[in-house]
């Protein structure tokens, strides 16, 4: 009997398979690190895990001798505040503008092409303008995140709103709904989970914009620290920071997914049956 095609076979234990690339990466690093350190104990490129833990704890558990701050956490707070502000502003604006564009043909004609054009502008290219206009401190970084993710979120939300079947728009009107009622009871509740999805997709770009802005001009923040210690080739700082940023991004995605599942349980079942 011929064995089944690979497209018809699935692993009995997918989690084990999922762990393989992670394990390989870790093993590769450990092997490379020990080889390099054996050849040159002063090697800075691939520090031993123990060194990284030591550096990390000196930054995360002890106060900095010069400033009296715990650097790791002040960096984290600074970055998260910028990211949170930027995403909160972008999400609220996207909700309002996306709803208007998605619901009103006149708004779509007026603003649709404009938003599409704006979304093509590479946000990082306007960063110098932001620095000139908004100064070098917090505001320009927040504005960069907003400008970077807002056009996409607006377009995505408006598109999802237009995908709500026409039958529902008509049905609601036959039940007596006017525009505001339709928006508040039919469209908005169905747009919310989609907005969360588009926020999740925007997390990656938002981190990118944040770290770029911090790298260029800041006095604190995760991206600032990475680029600062790059001068000393301090991989024992950079690597834990990169892992930490990854964990933060992963956790926020997980959180948003849980929010969507709990608040909008009907979404994933919608297509079924």
């Amino acid at each position: 009997m011929p064995s089944p095609r690979w497209i018809n076979r699935a692993p009995a234990n997918p989690r084990v398979l999922a762990a393989v690339p992670f394990a390989l990466l870790l093993a590769g690093y450990l092997a490379g690190s020990s080889v390099r350190l054996a050849a040159n104990p002063g090697d800075k490129l691939m520090p031993a895990p123990a060194v990284m833990v030591e550096t990390w704890s000196s930054m995360a558990l002890a106060e900095d001798t010069r400033t009296g701050e715990v650097l790791f956490w002040t960096d984290t707070r600074a970055s998260l505040v910028r990211l949170g502000l930027g995403l909160a502003i972008a999400t609220s604006l996207a909700l309002v503008i996306g709803l208007v564009i998605g619901m009103l043909p006149y708004a779509e004609s007026l603003l649709g092409p404009f938003v599409t054009a704006i979304s093509m502008v590479p946000a990082l290219a306007v960063l110098p303008i932001l620095f000139i206009v908004f100064g070098l401190d917090e505001l320009s970084k927040v504005v960069l995140i907003v400008i970077g993710v807002l056009p996409f979120m607006i377009r995505d939300l408006a598109q999802r709103i237009r995908e709500i079947p026409e039958e529902q728009w008509i049905k609601a009107q036959t039940l007596g709904a006017g525009g505001l009622q339709l928006a508040s009871r039919v469209i908005l509740p169905q747009a919310m989970p989609r907005l969360i999805d588009s926020l999740r997709l925007s997390l990656g770009p938002a981190w990118l914009f944040l770290i770029s802005a911090e790298a260029i001009s800041a006095t604190g923040g995760l991206g600032y620290r990475i680029f600062l210690v790059r001068r000393y080739m301090a991989m024992d700082v950079i690597l834990p920071y990169v892992v930490w940023i990854t964990l933060l991004a992963f956790a926020s995605d997980l959180l948003l997914r849980a929010l969507r599942r709990n608040r909008y349980p009907w979404v994933d079942a919608e297509g079924k049956g």
């Binding site: 079947p165 026409e166 039958e167 529902q168 008509i170 049905k171 609601a172 009107q173 036959t174 039940l175 007596g176 709904a177 006017g178 505001l180 009622q181 339709l182 508040s184 009871r185 039919v186 509740p189 169905q190 909008y264 349980p265 009907w266 079942a269 919608e270 079924k272 049956g273």
Partner: protein, 270 residues
């Protein structure tokens, strides 16, 4: 029914409905106004394509009009024009003597073949929504006692269509037939003068379709609204209607099939 209803949190309204039903009359009987429809020389053109031409029709209040005809004969277009979803290129439709509003409104209820329930609302809230739109004119959301009252009324309609046990479920958990029952209850709660059914049973299996026929006839007799039913199943049209309209093209130019539109070719009183 009452045991099933009592198992749900919304049982109070449902039980009220049951008591009324046991008292001999239905809870929702006679609540719909009836509508007279007059169609005057209606044309619908789509670019250079003529879909409908010279459609004229008078429908007495409380009629059950079945509309049938081959695919692409404009029967769904005609229904959409009645609904206000599309506008005629020429001609006029009067509802009780006044020109029909050019957009959908609560005087005309509708049941589509699919997608006409709201996936984010429970079955009960799907029905109560019409009352919330009526009573909360700005944002369409009722609170407290007003909300409870609307849900109790909605529960009566759910009971009437046999969905009392499903009140707290989301629509996606319902079978195709149940969804159409829900859609009918939704449409009835605003007591429309005219109920428009656009192939509402087309996607159902024969057994379910049979029971839906009985339900629609029962509700029509109780509420007395004017019904238009578009169907491609001519037997269904004969069975349900008091009047059967067949849309088709009278004239046809094989070289230019879009030159002529469809009109009413048979108008049979049943």
């Amino acid at each position: 029914m009452s045991t099933a209803a009592a198992a749900t949190p919304m049982s109070r309204g449902a039980m009220v409905a049951d008591e009324v039903a046991h008292a001999g009359t239905s809870a929702i009987a006679g609540k719909s106004a009836t509508g007279t429809i007059s169609v005057r020389n209606l044309w619908h053109e789509y670019g250079s394509k003529i879909v409908l031409e010279r459609v004229s029709l008078d429908v007495a209040p409380g009629s059950f009009v079945s509309i049938t005809g081959p695919s692409g004969c404009g029967k769904s277009t005609f229904l959409r024009i009645l609904l206000g979803q599309q506008r005629p290129s020429r001609g006029q439709i009067l509802l009780d003597g006044a020109p029909l509003a050019p957009e959908p409104g609560p005087d005309r209820g509708v049941v589509f073949q699919r997608y006409s329930s709201f996936p984010h609302l429970s079955v009960l809230d799907n029905v109560a929504l019409g009352l919330e739109f009526e009573r909360a004119p700005i944002f369409g959301r009722l609170f407290g006692a007003a909300r409870r009252r609307a849900r109790e009324e909605a529960a009566q309609y759910l009971d009437e269509v046999g969905l009392a046990a499903e009140a707290s479920n989301y629509p996606h958990a319902l079978s195709g037939g149940m969804r159409q029952r829900l859609s009918i209850a939704q449409a009835l709660i605003r007591r429309p003068k005219v109920l428009l059914l656009d192939e509402p049973f087309g996607a159902l299996d024969p057994g379910t379709r049979e029971s839906m026929h009985e339900l629609v006839l029962k509700l029509w007799k109780e509420c007395g609204m004017t019904i238009f039913l578009v169907t491609h199943d001519i037997r269904e049209g004969f069975k349900l209607g008091t009047r059967l309209l067949v849309f088709d093209k009278v004239r046809d130019d094989p070289h230019e099939p879009e030159r002529y539109g469809a009109t009413i070719t048979y108008d049979i009183a049943l």
